[in-house]
Assembly symmetry: D2
Homo-oligomer: 383 residues x 4
Amino acid sequence: MPASPRTMPAPPPSFGDVRAATEALCTPLEIEDYSAQSMADASPTKWHLAHTSWFFEEFVLRQATPAWRFLFNSYYEAVGPRHERPQRGLLTRPTVAEVMAYRHSITARMEALLASGRLSALELKIVTLGLHHEQQHQELILTDLLHLFSCNPLLPVYRETPPAGPRPSTPLTFQAFPGGVVEIGHTGESFCFDNELPRHRVYLQPFRLASRSVSNGEFREFIRAGGYTQPAHWLSDGWNTVQHEGWHRPLYWRESLQEAFTLAGVRELDEHAPVAHLSFYEADAFARWAGARLPTEFEWETARPPGGEVWEWTSSAYAPYPGFRPAGGALGEYNGKFMANQFVLRGGSAFTPAGHIRPTYRNFFYPAARWQVSGLRLAGDQA
Amino acid sequence: MPASPRTMPAPPPSFGDVRAATEALCTPLEIEDYSAQSMADASPTKWHLAHTSWFFEEFVLRQATPAWRFLFNSYYEAVGPRHERPQRGLLTRPTVAEVMAYRHSITARMEALLASGRLSALELKIVTLGLHHEQQHQELILTDLLHLFSCNPLLPVYRETPPAGPRPSTPLTFQAFPGGVVEIGHTGESFCFDNELPRHRVYLQPFRLASRSVSNGEFREFIRAGGYTQPAHWLSDGWNTVQHEGWHRPLYWRESLQEAFTLAGVRELDEHAPVAHLSFYEADAFARWAGARLPTEFEWETARPPGGEVWEWTSSAYAPYPGFRPAGGALGEYNGKFMANQFVLRGGSAFTPAGHIRPTYRNFFYPAARWQVSGLRLAGDQA
Amino acid sequence: MPASPRTMPAPPPSFGDVRAATEALCTPLEIEDYSAQSMADASPTKWHLAHTSWFFEEFVLRQATPAWRFLFNSYYEAVGPRHERPQRGLLTRPTVAEVMAYRHSITARMEALLASGRLSALELKIVTLGLHHEQQHQELILTDLLHLFSCNPLLPVYRETPPAGPRPSTPLTFQAFPGGVVEIGHTGESFCFDNELPRHRVYLQPFRLASRSVSNGEFREFIRAGGYTQPAHWLSDGWNTVQHEGWHRPLYWRESLQEAFTLAGVRELDEHAPVAHLSFYEADAFARWAGARLPTEFEWETARPPGGEVWEWTSSAYAPYPGFRPAGGALGEYNGKFMANQFVLRGGSAFTPAGHIRPTYRNFFYPAARWQVSGLRLAGDQA
Amino acid sequence: MPASPRTMPAPPPSFGDVRAATEALCTPLEIEDYSAQSMADASPTKWHLAHTSWFFEEFVLRQATPAWRFLFNSYYEAVGPRHERPQRGLLTRPTVAEVMAYRHSITARMEALLASGRLSALELKIVTLGLHHEQQHQELILTDLLHLFSCNPLLPVYRETPPAGPRPSTPLTFQAFPGGVVEIGHTGESFCFDNELPRHRVYLQPFRLASRSVSNGEFREFIRAGGYTQPAHWLSDGWNTVQHEGWHRPLYWRESLQEAFTLAGVRELDEHAPVAHLSFYEADAFARWAGARLPTEFEWETARPPGGEVWEWTSSAYAPYPGFRPAGGALGEYNGKFMANQFVLRGGSAFTPAGHIRPTYRNFFYPAARWQVSGLRLAGDQA
C-alpha cells in the first residue's frame, strides 16, 4: 500500500543543480552589486546567497555558527534574534568570496550527507523544502537586482538580451465556468508548500475568466483615460497610496509610457506583452475601470490558466486553508505567520523557476508591492 | 406577488427617534468634550452630530452649503474635497450650539419632506440608509468618547452607572456544525447594508464554535502565561505591532490586570464578562495560544450566535460577496471601497443600537484597531 | 547707597491687573475655543490659563495638587513628570469653568499672601517673575489662537477691529554706528529675566542699521522676484525647510499676496506695515536678496530701535551671556536650558505687553517658527 | 610690497601627494567596503573618491560629464540637481575600478594643467581649495568607515595597529587668561577657508581654560554618577535627544564602559586618553556636571591649545565673522550656507591631515553628531 504523499516525499530535485542555478544568476554581477539593499523589502544578492545556505546549515546540518546565524536568519523567531532587515545593505563583510566559500562548504557537506543515505524521511523533506526555498530566492535575486539597478541614474544593464520581436495581437476573450463545489489545493505526491494544503472544497458561483492577462497596451489606455487621477476606480487604501507615493504609471515604466527599465536596460514596451510591476491596488483599479474584477484565487485555480508570464493578482486575501496546520518548530513560521494583510498571486513569471509554476501555487505580497513581476487577468460574473 | 426587498423597502424607522437618540448620547457632556479628537481614527462628537445631518442634506435635501459640505463630508470623493480627517479636532467653530441648530433645522426639513409624501421609493431608501448610518455613528460617538477620556489623566466619567453584580461563571463548550453548502447574506424585506448582499452559497467544512466569547479571566491567563512576549503565538504583522506599540494588555486595562477604564470610570474587571478592546492580532494570538482559531464570518453567520455583548473578530478579510454591486453615485462609496486590508467582525456590543444586531451584519476594522468593543469567540475544526 | 538690582527688586507690578489682563483676552472666546491645540508648539488657551496659575501655586504657595501639577507643568524637569505637550488639546477636562475657578482661588490666595507682608525678598522676586511669565503667556494666547483659527476653513474672527487707515510710506534709511567696545545687558533696578544678565562688554565692528523694519510691500517684491524658488538666497537648512514645508509666502498670507489672515479675519495687507510671521530662514533670505544682512542682537541693543511693531529676528544664536548663572532649583530651567538651536528676536509686537518691550529683552524661537509676530530689520557693514 | 594673502596664494601643496594620500586610505578595503552608506550623514568611500575628483573637473577643468556631475555633486545648488544624499549607498556602479580610473584621469589632466603654467591666480586658488577640500574628505573617509564597520555585528577591523601603551596620568589644571579685546581669524599668507576670515576684534571676559581635554576616565565618572539619567545636566534639546536616541554612553563605547570599537577593532579604553565621539549635547552636559562650561571658539583660539587629539566642541554657534563675504558662484556655497544650527569645533584629531590643524580652523557639525572624533575641553569664568 503506498504511503501518503506527506510521509514519503518524491526524491528531492538535484541538490547540485539548484545550488548552481543560484550562483549562475550572479555571473553578470560586479562585486559592488552583491551588497547593496535598495529598500527594506529587498535584500542584497549576497544576503540571498548566504541565507539559502544558512537554511540548510540550520535545519539539516544543525551546526550554524552564531554570528552568521544572526546575520542570515530571515524571519524565524524560534531560531533567535536577527540582524535588522533594513540594515542588510551595511554588511560589507563577509565578502562575496567568503560567502561563496561558505556556500560551497555547505553544498559539499550537504552532498556528502545526501550521498550517505543517513537522512531520515523528515530530513529529506526538509532538504526538498530548502531547495524550493532557494528557488524562491532565485526569483527574488532578480527582482531585487532590478529594483536596485532602477535606483541608479546610470541605469545599469544586468544582462544584454536581444530584443524579442513584437508579439502578435491576441484578442481578449472570456471563458465561462459553471462554478459549484470544486476541490482546491494540492494533490498527488509531488512537492508543495504547506499553504497549498489541505485540499478542500469551495463553492464557486458561475464566473468568467479572461483568456490572457492584461497587456501593456491595454494598461496604457487606462493611464491615458485618467486612471491614476480618478478616485472612483480605486479602493480607499489604494487611492491614498497613489497620492502618497505619487504613482502615475507602473513601476519601471518611463514617463513616455513607451519604454520601461528592465534587466536588459531601458527597452521599448511591447504593447501586446503582459503588463507587469503593478501593485494589487493598480490591478484592482484597472479591473474596475474595465468593468470587470479580479478573479478569486479559487476561480483562478479552477480555470487552470497557464502561468509563466506574470504573477497575477487575485482578489483573495492570503489566508489559511480550512484545516491548515503549520509544521512544528521554526519551520512552522515558513508561511503561516504571514497570513494577514497580503493578497494571493497566481501564475508565475519569466523570473520564476519552472518547478514553481503549478495551478495550486500561492504567492503572496502586500497590496502596495510593485517590484515583483505582477500583473492581472480580468474576471467577471456570469450574466 | 410581493415585490423584491430591494425595490420596495420597509418603512423607515422613526426619523425623529433616531435623531433624538443621537442627541441623548450628548446629555452627559460638557461643551469642551464635543470638539476634541484623540486620534486620526476617531472623530469629535460635534463632528458626528454634524456629519450625520450633512448626510441627509447632501443626499436627500440636496442643498448642502459649501463650507459645511467641506467640513462634514467624511470620505465621499464624488462629493468633492474634504477637510483633512486628522484636523477635525481643530474645528472649534461652528460651536456646539450652531451644530445643534443645524441638526434641528435638518430634522425639521426632513420631517416636513417625509410628511409630504413627495419622496420617491429611491429617496425613501436613502432616508432609511441615512438612519442606519446615523446609528452607526451613535456607536462611534461612544467609542470615540471612551478613547478621548482615556487620554486624560483625570480619567473623566462619562456617566455613572451602578456596577453590575458579578456574572456567574459559564463553562465554555463547543458546538459542532456539519458544514456543507450554506446560504450566506441577508434575506427578506428588512433593511440591510449593500455589503450583506447578494445572498449566495458558501461551502463550509465541518467546524466547532464556542458557546460564548472569551472572558476577561481567560484573557488574563493568556497574559500571565507570557502571551504578549512570545512571538510564536502571533502573526508576523501582529508581533511587529505588539513591539512597535508596546502592547502588554487590552486597551483600557490597567496595569494591575484587575481594572479597566470604562465610560463609568475605572471599574473592576468582571472575570466572567467578555474581554473587549482587542485588536484582531490579539484575538488571533489568543486563539492560537488556546489551541483554537477564529471562526470565519461564514461559520459565524451559519451558527447564528447571539450578538450584543462584544463585536467578535473573525478570520475573514473584508471582501465583496460574489456579485456585489455598489450603488451608483457617491453612495456607492459607502462600503465597497473599504474592502481591502480590514477584517470582519460579527455580533455587536452593548454600545450598538439594537437594529444593528443581526446575523448577517458585517462590521469591519483594520487589524490593529482596538478602540472598538471588540473581542473574540473560539472556533475549531471538527476532529 | 542703593542695593543691587538683584537683591532688592522693584515692587511687583499689580498682581490683580496682570491676572485680569489675561482673562480679558478670553472675552471673545466661545467655550469650544479654549481647549484645542493646533500644533505641538502651541497650547490651548485653557492650558495657558491654568499653567500661569500653577506657576504661583508651585513656586510661591507650594501646595500644588498632584494631578494638576502633572497637567500644567510646562517643562520643569525638577518638578516631576508632565503631561505630554502634544496632548494638551485632549484635556477637555478640567472644564473652562473649573480652570477659571482655579485661577480665581490662586489669585485670592496670592493676594492675601501679598497683603500679609509675610513674603521674603526672594519670594517677592518669584512673584514678580511669575507676573512677567504670565505676560509672556498673554502674547502666546494670542499667537496660538491666531494659529488655531487659521486652521479652520471658516476663518473665525477673534475680535472685530476697525481697519486702520493705510500707513504713509516711510523711506528706508540706514544709520551708521561706530562700533567698538559696548556694554550689553540689563542695568538698573527694574525687573529683567536672567538671560539679560550679566551686563558685559562686547566688541562691535562699525555697522549700519535700517531706520525701520521691512514692510509687506518690500517682502512682496522678494516673492515676486522668485525669492522662494532660488536656493542661492537661502541657508542650506532654510532651503530644505522651504521645500519640505512647501512655503511660498509668509504664514497667514493668502495666495493673492494682497491679504492675510489676522485676529480680525482676512484683512488687506498694508504695504507699508511691517511684514510679520516670517521664520528666521525667510528673514535671512530676504536680507541676503536685499544685499544686506540681519543685525546681531548686540548691534540691535546698541542701536536701541523702538520696539512694539514686530519681533525682529537677529543673526545671533541664543546663548548665555558670559558669566550667566541660572537660578537654583526648578526656576533655573526658566531660560538656560533652551540656549541651543534657537535664535534671538528683539523688539516686541502689538501682541506684547508693554513691560516686555525694552532694549535688553531677548526673545527666542527655533529658526523655522513662523507663528509669532516675527519680522526683520536690515543691517549691514560699514563701507 | 607684498600682495595681500587673498590675491596671491601660496603655491598649492603637492597635488600628487594629496591625491595619493586619499587612495592610500583605501588600501585595507575590500571592494565591498567602498559602496555602503551607513546613514544619511555619512558617504561611501567610493563616493568620496569620486566627489573629490569631480570637484577639480567641475571647478577647474570645467568639463564634467552630466551623469557623473549629477552623482558626485555634493551640495552645490548652483551646479544643478543632484543625486539624493541618502541614496549614495545604492550606486553599485560606477565600480571601484571605474572610479579609480576616473580619479587617475583627473589627476593626470590636472597635473598636466599645473605643469603648463596656464592657470590664473584665481584658478590656482581653486586648486588649492580643492586640495584642502580633499583633505577634509580624507578625514570623513575614516569617520564614515568607522561608522559603517560599527554597524556590522562582525565588527570588522580596518587596520590592525599595535596597542599604544597606557598613557600616563596628566593632572587637569586651568590656565587663566585676561580677556579684553583680541584679534580673531586667520592672518598671514598661508591658505585658510573663507570662514576663518575676516580677521576681526572680539571682546573677551577673563576666562580659564583646561590644560588638556577631558579623558575617558573622567567621562566614565560622569556616566557612573548617573549623568545620562539626570535632566538637570542637559540642555532641553539634548535631553530630548538622549531619551529619543537611547544614549547611555559615547558612540562606540561598549556596554562595559571599558572598551570601544575603533578602526583597529574593539580596544580597551585608555583612561587617560581623550574621550571621543561625543555629541555637543554630551560635551555640554559633562561640563555642567563638572561645574565648568565649554569654551567659546574665541577663547579657544586666543588660548591656542595644541590640536591633533580630538576635535573639541565649543559653545559657539557656527556663524559668519563680521564682514564675511562668500565667494561668487557655486564655490560661495562651500561654507556660508551652513552657518545656522551647527556648533564650532576646534583642534583636530588623529584622523585629521596635518595641514588642517591650526588655531583659526573652524570645524562645524550639528549638535547631535557623534561620529566625528569629537570631545571637549573645560573652561570657566575667572573668579
